[in-house]
Symmetry: C2
Subunit: 112 residues, 2 copies
């Protein structure tokens, strides 16, 4: 359950390029099974992406002990890398920083 010890909640945001909106939605209507499998292997679950205008908001939970290592494993997965060649042109990074295009959000409050 969501209030288990060791569960970390992550919120993220990224811009959606308006001219790529239809393509992004089409891709996410049928995410490649290997991409989903790589996320599951990385102890990621309950992952939802929402749309608000030209912004995408993501929420997911990590149940492992080493989020950085798990995310690195996702980023090393060949099928995920191929998937990202389709999704990244749809996205616009909102802040400077290392890592992928998504920006991590600050948690203000949580109720289990």
């Amino acid at each position: 359950v969501s209030d288990s010890p060791g569960v970390r909640r992550i919120g993220q945001v990224v811009g959606l390029r308006p001219e790529k909106r239809a393509e992004y939605l089409r891709l996410h209507a049928e995410v490649w099974p290997e991409v989903e499998a790589a996320l599951r292997r990385a102890n990621i679950r309950n992952y939802t992406i929402f749309l608000h205008g030209d912004l995408l908001f993501a929420y997911f939970e990590h149940t492992g002990d080493d989020l950085d290592a798990d995310l690195a494993a996702v980023a090393a997965d060949p099928v995920t890398r191929e998937w990202w060649t389709h999704t990244e042109p749809c996205q616009r990074r909102l802040t400077d920083g290392a890592g992928g295009p998504w920006t991590d959000l600050t948690e203000v409050w949580h109720l289990d």
Copy 2:
């Protein structure tokens, strides 16, 4: 668990008035117990609010059979109504519409 039948995921967004940012954060560092109790009675769980600049992004799950009725019960709770007299001046509605200041988001994709 999150993939139980009958669990509905809700994503929402609202603006945060920059001059009220500190007050909003202070309020949410210690949300009134009665407010949290009213949410739990309304079958709402795993509720997180994130901050991104002048936007607040909320994620929560509803496990009951009638979300509208449960939200109406929250809105009728006297302590919650008092709480909202503190929080609503901090918020800026982003879209027209009925109901509270928060705008419901469209779900693009979900992985259990």
